[in-house]
Amino acid sequence: MLKYIIVIPALFLFVNISAQSPAQYDWDTTRERYVLSVVEEQLPEIILKEHEEYLYTFEKDQFVLYNIYHRIARLNNDEAIQRHNRITIPMNRTFELVEIKARTINLNGNVINFDKKNLKEVQQNNGEGGSRLFAMEGVIIGSEVEYYYIRKMTPSLQESNYLQMDVPIKSLSFVVKCPKHLEFDFKSYNGLANIKTEETEKENIYSLVMNNIPASREEEFAFANAKKMRLEYKLAYNTAKSKARINTWDDAGKRFYSLIYSIEKDAQKTVERYVKELNDNPSDPLTKRIRRIERKIKTSVRIDTKGSGDALDNVESIIEYKVASPQGMVRLMANVFEVLNIRAQVVLTCSREYAAFDGDFDTFNYLDDYILFFPETSQFLSPYNLSLSYPIIDSEFTAQHGLFIEPVSIGSLNSAIASVREIAAVPYSFNTDNLFINVKFSDDLEENRVDLKREFSGYNSSYIASNYHLMTDEQKLLMVDELLKQTAPGLTINDWKGVVDVEGDVDQFILNVNFTSSHFIERAGQRLLFKVGLLIGPQSELYNEDERVNPVENDYNRGYDRVIKVQVPAGYRVKNPEDLDKSVLYKDGDSVPYSFVSAVESEGQMLTITIKEYYKEIYAPLDRYEDYRKVINAAADFNKVTLVLEKK
């Protein structure tokens, strides 16, 4: 989102070289259909060719990029056709679509060429963005669809390309060419081949060829994209100017510092005035101050992620009109905290869903999103995710590294030092979903009366905590109904109360409900079968289908404490209370990062079940996957516990 905020500096001026001719590219006009192996022929879809080129060149002193994209796919079923018969060419940063060719080659060798007059244009943002669209023509089962296009674009100084797909790729090639005085650096991830460098008289040529790339795999507790083969590259040197590396972490630190903190003098005064509206009390504990300021700002300023225009970035305008871009919100908050003398550092990172931040490769592609770090508490704040509040930030930015920008003052000069550090995930105790349940049976033993208290905190409470005050009573009831229906379809709510608590160290939503339900009782002749395990709500089983390929990656740490008290009907006894004792521990040396333990105690007609379940660490290694799965499945197993009640 933020990659392009760094304006291309005048790196390329005064380098007088003759203009290269624009990209020359064509396909094999007379080619036959691919000859495939039996296995390949049977795949629903296979990418036969995936080729991409980035050609950096100068045209009349203008630095431009030609991007060539060429794909051939064999389509063997309906979904494969659906995925490839509608082509969208993104036109952001694009001056011109220089060329587009597309054709379909069918089983009988018939070639249907795309008619360019059917190319459509879609404009976005007053014509600043948009795309070109077309439908592949003549596609049927067994078709090979082929297309390539060339776009003339504003060059970017870094690119990130996933070079693995959810279907196999038979042949992959990737090329970057640039004038001799520019040098790019590359890094391959997740098993992708390395780039080979070749120098000609006028150009640096970087290329990569790889065959038979397997399909990527979607797995639970793993982010598929982050595990795909990926190529990162960046412009690292402009030897015409200097031998020093460019666009380093340090450069990033200084530029982002200036971007966030340089505001006009008038704006400074406006911020100072605005701060007075925020009711800060400097004698309060720091956590309380930060949370209150954040809440004040987030409940009055709206975020516009799609809007354009400087006003959304301008602090004065944001304070006046209460609409901000994400970056505008960071500027507002950073300057507010500065005025209040609350030390905060801007941190830039990217989602774990996209990639693990690699501190060893200084590409701005990793600087996708902002968070704020408070060194005195070592906690973070998400400035423009309005449903989260300190110290809870978007989980995909945690258990990840980031670029921390620490302001420094040398005399009257303000600047910043950048360093790559870890953004720790918050502990499991911050993200709870606790349950306290009392169950009784009706006199006719047809239904249960249940008192249920559910405590959500952290990530589990964030949506409700941030929206509850905006909901009408009707919407609140609907939400509670939806929540409980998952546990007991067809229940009758007798009474309920919901409370959002934002005064503590982390947001909480506490729900108290009294309901009646027949859902937990089944019968076998004179026996009552009490489905006590269903009271904790549906838990999903983690199946072990194919061999696991990725280590375990959790969204966030979390804990579940549950206490269920069952009043066994008079005259009945439970035949199998021991079924409630379960203990599944994942041990790692002396520590137990994942655990599910349930235990039962009986006193008179009262059965007390205590369950402690938690996930204390984000990552677990691949070779411990089975152990992790057992803990996850312990909750699903608990769902199946059925108590048999028989007359004494």
Partner: protein, 647 residues
Amino acid sequence: MVSLKTSSVFVVIAMNCIVHSIFGQSSSLDQVRERYPDEGVIYLERTKTLMLDVVNDSLKAYADFYEDLLHLKGQTGNYTKNKVYGSSFVKVDNIKARTLVWEKNKYRTVPVTDLTRNDEQSDNVFYDDSYYYTFNYPSVASGNRTVLEYREVQKDPRMISGFLVSSYAPQVRATFRIKTTEDVDLYYRVLNDPGNRVQFNKIRRGKSVTYEWSVEDVPSMKIEPGSPDIRFYEPHIICYVRSYLAGGKKIEVLPDVRALHTWYRSFIRDLDEEPSEELAKVVGTIKANSTNDLAIVQGVYQWVQSNINYIAFEDGMRGYVPHRPSYTCEKKYGDCKDMASIIVGMLKIAGIKGYYTWIGTRNKPYRYTEYPTPYVDDHMIATYIASDGRYYFLDATSKYLPFGFPSSMIQSKEALISFDDDNFEVKEVPIISGDENLITDSLTIRLENDEVVGTGSITLAGLSKSQAGWNLERVEQKDVKDFVIRIAGKGSNKFYLDNYTISRPSAENGNTEIAYNFRIGDYFQRYADELYINLNLSKENYNRLISDATRKTPHEFEFQYDKSEYIEFTIPEGYEVEYLPKNEIVNGLLTGCSFRYEVLENKILFSKQFYVHYILLNPEQFSAWNSEIGKISSAYKEAIILKKKNQ
């Protein structure tokens, strides 16, 4: 998935120009807060004023919208951004938006200055020439108001739209006006207003006439999971112009279905062609393999289903005018109109009459006879009438639909079947009965250690087969497997699908069959010498009661279906039956189920016949539904007891 261009009939919202806002003082603000203590925003005014002017010989139509929204809670995120839509048929003009900021006991106006224009993009329509302007209101806060005015200029007076009374926020007052003259013959009607809350006035001033509908204190519209389109239950006003007088001459606009049909015929006038070699060859092959006309129709329909991929382009009149058959044949893609056109064209090559047919999907509540306008339909199919008089509604956009079935989305709808320029028929498409959409699941199960182990075979017919179709044609096998688990899964979340095979239907046998092996963990209980097992491995709609405290709108279901389940359970060695549940029959109008248990040597045979027989369930039917579901759920609770034999 459907594509005739009648997009947003009632583009949300509101109103006229010079209505004085009904308050401007803090005391009134308090009153409103008191009246709506719970709401984040309310409309003080929402007005649409439709002008119908006869200019020279033609009828000019345009509408002015006005909306005035008061914010009552701090940050009302969703309401601070707004959109105004236009298309090649409705030009949007003169957008004026502003925030009224409450300061020092009066309102200060802050205008919206940045409008962003975007072309519309949606999942269903690949290319759409409609567009929207989007903008942010500045300084939105409690007590402030956001005001929007704009004009819609209608290119064709046959496409004038009515007014949806309710909106996403409650309204102090909503008003719809039509300003015109006595020369314009107007039809109008209020729908879904059982309490007669919509007040109507007709005001004459000289030759000019103003029709005005207004409602005070309008609650926000309700949209709930499974609700049909809001026009099925929310109050709204429909209108159209029958004709007008210009220079003493009566000029027809849309007086009746006949006029609508005549207009529609102009869209398909130029589709006749000399067929391409390829198309002629395809039809030739189908004909050669068919023994009678019906077989040819089936062949043509199925060829289009499997060879023409659905892609929709909404581009000006292309939203109404189909491509020629040979064009679609060459491109191998098209929208509903193109598929209708190629079917009619191919039948013509084969010497068989097929008819262009316009139809509304179940998103549209209207009938041609009542409201003969383009708002009735949003879809096109072909119709074939067999020699025995049976109608075949050929909707090739449903790729996996068995021949002879209408697609689920046109059941119960009126089809406008066009025979030629002058002749047509309005015919209702039937609702397919549940037994034609039968799902059967036959199981053989036994107990092994702690698991139920078994084999099963599922057969899907009719619309059940159609619905499953896409899910079985996926690129990733995992997606197919997940779907099989979804329909074959039973017992609990410890259902393991070991393997499965899918038999896809051939032309002769239209049903899909799935054979599978499975296990279910921890499903039964064994204590001392007793064993309990509930043979209701799948409990359709178990306890799915509809709470009339929370549910206000009808519930729509894609199609009626029956489901038969047969289980042959081998009694484990050394056990005998101690208790067998009673047989039960719940025979409801909307849903029902029969349960039959039988012991046969060392086996228990259990058969269950379940059905859902509605496609639209209205709130007044909820209690009947709940009573039927209650009885079924109670029968689901019964487990069998097996006991160890005395040695």
